[in-house]
C-alpha cells in the first residue's frame, strides 16, 4: 500500500493552484508546501558506503539506473553539503561513533536511508558476531528502510522516491504513523 494514498496532498504535481489572469498567472499556495516541494527535488546524497551495498549504490549512480533523473546526482563527499545519508553496508561498533558524527555534521533538514539487511538489523551478521551493530537505527534515526542483500538498484530508486514523497507530504513521524494506522484499519 502506498503511503501517499492516504496523505492529504497530491505529491506528484506542483503544490498549489495556478489562477490564469491576463498578463500571467498567480500561484496560490503555502510556503511550507513550496519549500518541501523544492527540498524534495534536490536531495544530495553523501557518498557513504561501508560494504557491498555501496557497489549497488554506484550502479544506481551510473548510466543504466541513473538516480539523477530524480534529483540525486550530486553525490557529496562531505557531510556538510549533503542532505541524505544512504547507509550502504554493515555498521560495526567501531564505525558507530563515526556514523553519529557524520550525521551530526550534516545540516538540517537531513534524512537517512538504511540500505540493505545489514543497515536494518545486522542482516547476515546478526548471530555470533562480537562487533556488528544490529541495525543502524540504534545510532541515528532512519526514514526509509530498503530490504535486500544487497537490494536491487530499482529498490534503491523506490526508496529515494518514497523519501521524496515523505518530504512533500510535510508530515511528522507521528502524523505518518497515524495515517498508516488508519490505512491498515480500512
Amino acid at each position: 500500500m502506498e503511503l501517499n494514498q492516504g496523505l492529504a496532498v497530491d505529491t506528484k504535481e506542483f503544490p498549489g493552484q495556478i489562477l490564469q489572469t491576463p498578463g500571467g498567472g498567480i500561484v496560490v499556495s503555502t510556503f511550507d508546501s513550496i519549500i518541501n516541494w523544492a527540498r524534495s527535488n534536490s536531495l544530495w546524497p553523501l557518498t557513504f558506503a561501508t560494504s557491498c551495498c555501496g557497489i549497488e549504490m554506484m550502479s544506481v549512480a551510473a548510466a543504466k539506473y541513473d538516480f539523477s533523473r530524480f534529483g540525486f546526482e550530486v553525490a557529496r563527499a562531505t557531510p556538510r553539503q549533503a542532505d541524505v545519508i544512504i547507509i550502504a553496508g554493515t555498521i560495526v561498533n567501531k564505525m558507530g561513533p563515526v556514523l553519529k558524527r557524520l550525521y551530526d555534521q550534516m545540516a538540517e533538514p537531513k534524512y537517512v536511508i538504511a540500505m540493505g539487511a545489514c543497515a536494518i538489523s545486522g542482516g547476515p551478521f546478526f548471530y555470533n558476531t562480537y562487533s556488528v551493530v544490529k541495525g543502524a537505527d540504534h545510532i541515528i534515526p532512519v526514514d526509509v528502510y530498503i530490504p535486500g542483500c544487497p537490494p536491487r538498484p530499482e529498490a534503491l530508486l523506490h526508496a529515494l522516491i518514497a523519501l521524496q514523497e515523505k518530504i512533500k507530504s510535510g508530515l511528522t513521524r507521528e502524523q505518518i504513523r497515524e495515517v498508516s494506522k488508519a490505512l491498515v484499519l480500512i
Binding site: T47, F48, A49, T50, S51, C52, G54, I55, E56, M58, S59, A62, A63, K64, A77, P79, G89, T90, V92, K94, M95, P97, V98, R101, L102, P124, F125, Y127, N128, T129, Y130, S131, V132, C149, P150, R152
Partner: protein
Amino acid sequence: MYTQTEIIKDTTINGSEGELVINVGPQHPATHGVLHLVITLNGETIKKIEPHLGYIHRSIEKMCESLTYRQFIYVTSRMDYLSSHINNEACALCVEKGLQIEVPARAKVIRVLMGELTRIASHELWLGAMAMDLGAFTPFFYTFREREMINEIMEDTCGARLTMNYMVAGGVAMDLHPDFQRKVKLFVTQFKKRVPEFDDLITNNIIFQNRMKGVGVLSGEDAISYGCTGPVARGSGVSSDIRKLYPYDGYDAVAFDEVLETAGDSYARYLVRLREMHQSIRIIEQLIDAIPEGDFQAKTKAVLKLPKGEFYTRVETARGELGVYIVSEGGTTPYRIKFRSPGFSNLSALHHMAKGSKIGDLMATMGTLDLVIPDIDR
C-alpha cells in the same frame, strides 16, 4: 602514537616541529570504503602512513566457527564482494579437498567461466573508481556500461547481481540459464569493440600517464617480502598467478598468459589489470562453446563432515591470492577458519610505497592497489 579516540576528536594534531598529522578516512571518497589512514606529513611530503583498520570488521572468522560447511560459504561472498564467485569457489574447493569430492567436468567449466566474468567485472569497477580518484569522471560511466552486462548474466543464472553464493561444495548451486551462452558471446563482442575506447581515453592520455608513471614504486623483492600478490606483485615482475602456479578447477587446460610488468609503478599495475581483462576474455572464448554436458553438482551427503585435519586452498581472486585455511576436528562446523585475504597484505606495503612521495600522489598509489575494505577487515 595517538589512540583512535584522540584522532577522531581532532581532525588535525600537530606532531613534532614542522610535522602535520592528517586523517584520511574513515569517511573519504578515495579510500573506497571505510579505511582510516593517519598520515604524517612534512609539508606536502609523506613521512609515515599508519593504517587503522576495523571500521568494517564483521568478525567473519568467528561466525564461521558456528556455521556448517554448507552455510559458511554465503558469508564469504560478502567479504571481497567484487570477486564473490571466486571467494565462494575457494571455500568450496577447500571443503571438497577435505571430503575428496570429485567435481563434475561441467561444474568446473562453469566455475572458470563465472570466475573470469567476475574478474572482468571487478577490474571494470576498479578502472572506473581509480579514474575517478584521479579526477576523471567519464571512465566511470564507460566501465559501468560493460559491468551491467555481466551483472545481468549473473542475475539470469545465479539470481543475484553481486553476492551470488553460487559455488557450493560439489559443484555449482544450479544449472546455467539457457540464454547464458548467447549473452556471454554478445558481451565478448561488445567488450572487444569497446575496450579500445579505454586506451584512447585513459592509457594514452598524457595527463594520466604523468600522474601514474614513477608513482608508488614497489620493487619485486619488497613485493614478495610484504606478501603482495595479484596485479600488485605482477606489476613488479613477480610471477604470482595461482591459476598458473597451482592450477585448480581445470585452469591448466586453458591457454592464457600471466601478465607481467617490471616497472613496479602505478602505471605498470594499471597495465597489468587492463591486459588481464583481455586474458580473461581469451579464457571465456575458449570455454564458452565447450561446456560439457552432464551433472552440474556431484552427489554429496546432506550433512558435510570434514575429517580431522587441516586443509588449505589458494585461489587467485581479482586482487590476488586468497587462502582458506580450515582446521577441522571432525565435526559439522570448522574448528578454526582463517581467510588469508589479498588486500590485507597489499595494504601493508602502502607505507613503503608512498613514503617520500607527495600527498597528491597517494591517490594514484592507493587507487592501483585496488583495496576492498571488507576483504581487509573480514
